[in-house]
């Protein structure tokens, strides 16, 4: 079952870094106790060495507690780190939720043919770790006449889809209105934004994976090691709360591409879908595509009985 996963040790540099980090945790607790944590982080930012950035990261406060300047400093650290590690010029956005917008998604399962181009586009867009094989969307292949998830196949491969006698059900983060993951998190590292999108502060998550346990849609994924993306495949247009390079050993999940949608653009999965099965829009806008679908099609939501109020609707026509 388990293969050898030992990789070449990253050497003395990493070890000294680690021991520093351990010392850091003691010092950090003390410093933060006296309320100078963020000041120290600020101090560290003036120096843009890797070490200073590491300290800055360590003392970094919760996203919602940071002042705009602190957020900018944090973003600058992320950009410097990307430059150091990948040699790419990253743009880390920090767009707030749009006024009067709550995002919703709909998926026409009679149009979905199981092509998985959405998965591919998602991987290209969101800079997920290739080692951990994080894919936000899982497309399940099911037999006609039943919708039992435990009998579905998420690993189908074929010459051509749709295969006879099969239909397809893509599952991803449902951006629940009542998200169990948010309730479960012991440190408030994940929360629901005003536009209804559940986000994670990758710099605050402690990696306990309780949210993963709480999610009924298997939407949450963990970076099992230091996330790696080939430098040439990195999408440089990122957002602090979504696509920016992930910290090691923290959670992540789909944000409906908020780096795009908050600029009025469509999610990557929707754009890549060759059959037009995906519909996205503003639930507060009565003229939006999503409202039309909800109000004119017979829709259903996955595991609605759990009371999670997903904002992801399935429909057929």
């Amino acid at each position: 079952m388990t293969e050898d996963v030992s990789t070449a040790s990253t050497g003395a540099a990493a070890i000294s870094r680690r021991s520093l980090l351990r010392k850091g945790s003691v010092l950090g607790a003390v410093a933060a106790f006296f309320g100078v944590g963020s000041a120290a982080a600020q101090e560290a930012v003036k120096d843009d060495s890797a070490l200073a950035d590491m300290w800055g990261d360590f003392f970094q406060q919760h996203y919602k507690k940071m002042s705009p300047e602190e957020v900018q400093a944090a973003i600058a650290r992320i950009e410097r780190k990307a430059k150091r590690e990948y040699g790419v010029e990253l743009t880390v956005g920090n767009e707030p939720p749009l006024e009067g917008v709550v995002f919703g998604y709909a998926l026409n399962i009679s149009k979905c043919k199981g092509v998985r181009r959405c998965v591919e586009a998602c991987m290209a867009e969101n800079n997920q770790s290739r080692d951990s094989q994080i894919q936000y969307i899982r497309v399940l292949e099911m037999d006609y006449g039943r919708m039992d998830l435990t009998l579905a196949d998420g690993y189908y491969s074929a010459e051509a889809v749709p295969r006879p006698g099969k239909f397809y059900l893509p599952i991803q983060c449902m951006q629940c209105e009542n998200p169990p993951c948010v309730k479960a998190c012991p440190v408030e590292a994940t929360w629901k934004e005003a536009d209804g999108i559940v986000v994670i502060d990758y710099n605050w998550c402690i990696g306990c994976r309780y949210c993963m346990t709480a999610c009924p849609y298997w939407a949450r994924h963990f970076n099992w090691n230091r996330p790696k993306v080939p430098a040439e495949e990195i999408n440089t247009d990122t957002h602090y709360l979504s696509t920016r390079p992930r910290a090691k050993r923290v959670m992540e999940q789909s944000t409906f591409c908020l780096q795009r949608t908050r600029k009025g653009r469509q999610p990557a999965c929707l754009e890549a879908c060759p059959t037009g099965a995906r519909i996205f829009g503003n639930l507060l806008d009565p003229n939006s595509d999503i409202r039309y679908v909800i109000e004119n099609k017979t829709v259903f939501r996955l595991k609605e009985d759990l009371g999670t109020e997903p904002k992801f609707w399935y429909y057929t026509d």
Binding site: M1, T2, V5, S6, S9, T10, A14, I15, R18, L21, R22, G24, S25, A29, A32, F33, G37, F58, H62, S132, I134, R138, L140, D148, L149, T150, L151, A152, G154, I171, P180, K183, A184, C185, P186, V187, E188, A189, W204, C205, I206, G207, C208, R209, Y210, M212, T213, A214, Y217, H221, F222, N223, W224, N225, R226, A247, K248, R249, V250, K303
Partner: protein
Amino acid sequence: MMQLARFFYDGARQVFSGSWLYRVWMLGLGAVVLMGGLMYSQQLEQGMIVTGMSDQVSWGAYIANFTYLVGVAAAAVMLVIPAYIFNRQDIKHIVLIGEGIAVAAVVMCMLFVTVDLGRPDRIWHLIPLLGRFHFPQSMLAWDVVVLSGYLLLNLTIPFYILFSRYRGKEPDLRVYFPGVIIAIAWAISIHTVTAFLFSSNVARPFWHTAVLGPRFLASAFTSGPALIILALQLIDRVTELKVSSTVIDLIALIVTISLQINLFLLGVELFTDFYFPTEHSASAIYLYTGLHGFNALVPWIWSAAALNLVAVSILTVHRWRGKRALLNAACLMAVVGVWIEKGMGLIIPGFVPTPIGEMFDYVPTQVEIGVSLAIWAIGLMIFTVLARVAIPIELGTLSYAGGDRTSGAARRSGARGTPGPHHPPMH
């Protein structure tokens, strides 16, 4: 103040001296801890990718051990109640041992959770005010509260009692009795909260059952006291502290009834799952019979079932339970059986199949086993150290006035029991 310093000085002297057996024991444990520490550094270095956990089965051996040990910690209450509430002198005599086990178990729990964290360097995010403690919404936050509270209670009350004895004073019941009452309620709560940690997950039908809390308590009061029986006999053999057989008899009765209740509750669960299996029974089916060709846990759970059934048979028959060798065998079986049933047999199948129906087997890696063993070794070390200090004080051989007098007028009460296995089983 002087007394306090002397207390710690004498305690330390106790810890760093002893027979060759004691030294070998501690050195052996130290070696295990060192080995585990090296493996943990590997996990820190390379990431949790060195464990067998995956997005599919995201908790494994660490959380399984954690769950089991919360039960052990809570079980100390089964000595505290007869000792302080029913005023059983024979139990009062050894209740500190139970509390020592509780302390060791809680520390182990905390270590198991810590090694399971992806980012232990960010653990300060859990500290209220400094970080953002999501209380009371998150059950994990509750668990942090109850575990640290329980640790605090189990450190302060015995410390007060021991320190009083050390100074040659009789501890004042009025001082520590409220603490005892709180500790009793708290012990129930730590395991209830731990059960809620799992049963609060609507995503995991295998855990999402109201009977999980009672089951946790029943299994806790099985395996914890069973461990205590084994530990007491060992202490009786290797130290000056003598344990009355009436104590063993009482605890054996507690183990018996708890195991019976535990098996009854398990049966209730199995009936619900198997009478008319639904999609929610998939995990139970995977656990007991295997599902879609995935059956990693089947041998484990049937071993657990066999161990528990044999144990309950021995324990239920009075004549057999009275025989020390049989009792010890039954206790060992109950400890191992509950460890499987409540550890691997409860945590892992909760994840299989995943909420969207994927089947995936989990097998712990060497790193996980090594780190887990090391944490158990740390727990045993803590318990040994605590017992090593507490026993002479309890016996009156170690005091502020008298210094360290070897042996002496130990308060012998009751007959010595047949020696049990040499040390508590470790996993």
